[in-house]
């Protein structure tokens, strides 16, 4: 029974996604411009680091190469989440307040699945590209540990990180069921992730606490990234990342599920 359900959903996902690829092929220029946009803005972030390191040898013990790895590593979970679940933003901005959410309620499919599968965001490939390039660069430079354990945990960490992103997005988007529009809140939460692009030690205690435990983006970027650098870190960090991902996932889904029950159509 469960297996059949899974297979049905997989098949549905394939059908929906293949429709989506047709749309991309129709507007290739848009596709490349979006990709380029994200790629380019990430590259400028790196250029900024280069300029700064013209002036200083290291930043609180971190070298330029290490910071570039952290920066690049942070882009990968962000990019994965951005690629697959971008449509969640629409719940926060439009679907609930315009009553467009009706159509998801009517179909005999999991609602969150419908929303997520409706769209792939090709712009995200720009972020992924930057992330992969910078991580590869760090590997060539030999500053990351690449034994079997670290390699496996690398992929685990990326998946868990993407899940944390998705959960935070779902949670704040679900607030729209009560507030009608929750876009600004989601935006604030999402942008918090930018703090974790740099070592969290540079921030004041309050901010550090917030990005580690309240909106745990430090567990998506800086903390796991520093584990992969030669710092002799403990794999417990990745374990905690997975734990946080699981907990946040459950909370977000619960709140979303609750929200669909209080949803009222805009009526027309």
């Amino acid at each position: 029974m469960m297996r059949m359900k899974c297979r049905r959903y997989l098949r549905l996902y394939r059908v929906i996604i293949s429709q989506f690829f047709k749309i991309i092929l129709q507007s290739r220029v848009d596709f490349f411009m979006g990709l380029f946009g994200f790629f380019f803005s990430q590259i400028l972030g790196i250029a900024f680091l280069y300029l700064v390191f013209e002036q200083i040898p290291s930043l609180q013990g971190w070298t330029l190469d290490q910071l570039i790895f952290i920066y690049g590593f942070a882009q990968i979970p962000r990019g994965i989440d951005h690629l697959f679940t971008d449509n969640i933003w629409m719940v926060a901005w439009r679907f609930v307040v315009n009553g467009e959410f009706d159509r998801y309620m009517l179909r005999p499919m999991n609602i969150l699945f419908q929303i997520i599968s409706e769209k792939l965001q090709p712009d995200a490939l720009g972020e992924l590209l930057v992330g992969i390039l910078l991580v590869t660069r760090s590997m060539i430079k030999g500053i990351v540990i690449t034994d079997a354990l670290h390699t496996v945990l690398f992929f685990v960490s990326i998946l868990a990180g993407a899940l944390i992103y998705t959960s935070i997005k779902t949670f704040f988007a679900a607030l729209a069921f009560w507030l009608k529009v929750s876009g600004p809140f989601l935006q604030v939460a999402y942008e918090t992730a930018n703090f974790a692009k740099y070592p969290t030690e540079i921030y004041a205690k309050g901010i550090r606490f917030m990005i580690t435990w309240v909106i745990p983006f430090a567990f998506v970027a800086y903390l796991p990234a520093s584990f992969f650098l030669k710092a002799g870190g403990s794999p417990v960090v990745i374990g905690m990342e997975c734990g946080i991902a699981a907990v946040f996932c459950c909370i977000a889904y619960f709140v979303f599920e609750r929200g669909t029950h209080v949803y009222e159509s805009a009526g027309n």
């Binding site: 380029f36 712009d123 935006q187």
Partner: protein, 272 residues
């Protein structure tokens, strides 16, 4: 002249009212933008903590604090995204309505942007500014408050605003050629933050690059007013900088008129 002001003033006032209406969302956006300033602040503090030098790129740590927040503040006041409005008007076809009205489309956009600018100045900027002045008074070694500098800063900021809006109008013309300018807008935003000095003072760039920037309008948008505020430009240099800003206003205005004429000639609108 009086008639012209009467015709365009409503655009300014409407925009002000619109901003007032969406206060909640507005404050949250301010918060999001402030994040950037705070990340920058902590990053720079760590950078100054990692060096023995007193000044980096010609700025002391105290001056850098002022620089970061003034650059943020100036950036918010100045960068009103006119190209967003242009692309909306083009996609929805309402730009046609603007062509048949007896007003200048660009002037109406600038007036509307002024409303935005005034609001951004009144609501968050003034408070940040007051905070900075207190900081300036509390930290020794910083130049004292001077009404003259503030005055020149304000003049320079208004020029910056005009440069940005006129530039962004030209940028918005791209909307006539492609409907999806989101990607390009991201590029523009990132470039503006980088080249105007919002992210990092221009003095951190290599000499050769700085020479190139002298011939681009970007450093006139944020870097110049903030440096004036910090008292880095005085005497002839100050007037030269203001003159350069004025020259950019004129140049971009003429350039905008040119493309606008070209673009409206080939404009096709669906339906009537």
């Amino acid at each position: 002249m009086k008639r012209r002001i009467k015709a365009y003033l409503p655009f300014t006032i409407n925009e002000l009212k619109r901003q007032m209406a969406y206060k909640g969302a507005f404050y949250l956006f301010i918060l999001v933008k402030m994040f950037g300033a705070f990340i920058n602040y902590y990053l720079w503090m760590a950078i100054y903590g990692s060096t023995n030098q007193n000044t980096l790129g010609g700025l002391t740590q105290g001056e850098m604090v002022i620089y970061i927040f003034m650059a943020y503040l100036t950036g918010t006041i100045v960068t009103v995204s006119v190209s967003n409005w242009v692309s909306e008007d083009v996609v929805q076809g309402t730009v046609a309505m603007n062509l048949i009205k007896p007003i200048d489309y660009r002037m109406s956009l600038i007036s509307r942007a002024s409303g935005d600018m005034i609001y951004q100045f009144l609501v968050p900027s003034v408070f940040i500014w007051i905070g900075l002045e207190i900081y300036r008074a509390a930290v020794p070694g910083l130049p004292p408050f001077s009404a003259e500098k503030v005055l020149f800063y304000l003049v320079s900021t208004v020029l910056s605003f005009l440069i940005y809006v006129l530039f962004d109008f030209c940028f918005g013309m791209i909307a006539f050629f492609t409907t999806y300018i989101f990607g390009l807008m991201m590029v523009k935003q990132a470039l503006i933050a980088f080249l105007t000095g919002q992210l990092i003072p221009i003095s951190f760039f290599p000499e050769a690059v700085q020479r190139v920037f002298d011939f681009l309008p970007f450093s006139s948008m944020v870097y110049t007013p903030v440096m004036i505020y910090l008292g880095k430009y005085t005497g002839n240099k100050l007037f030269f900088m203001l003159l350069r800003q004025a020259a950019w206003v004129v140049l971009l205005y003429l350039f905008g008129s040119l493309i606008w004429r070209k673009v409206t000639k080939r404009l096709v609108i669906l339906g009537g």
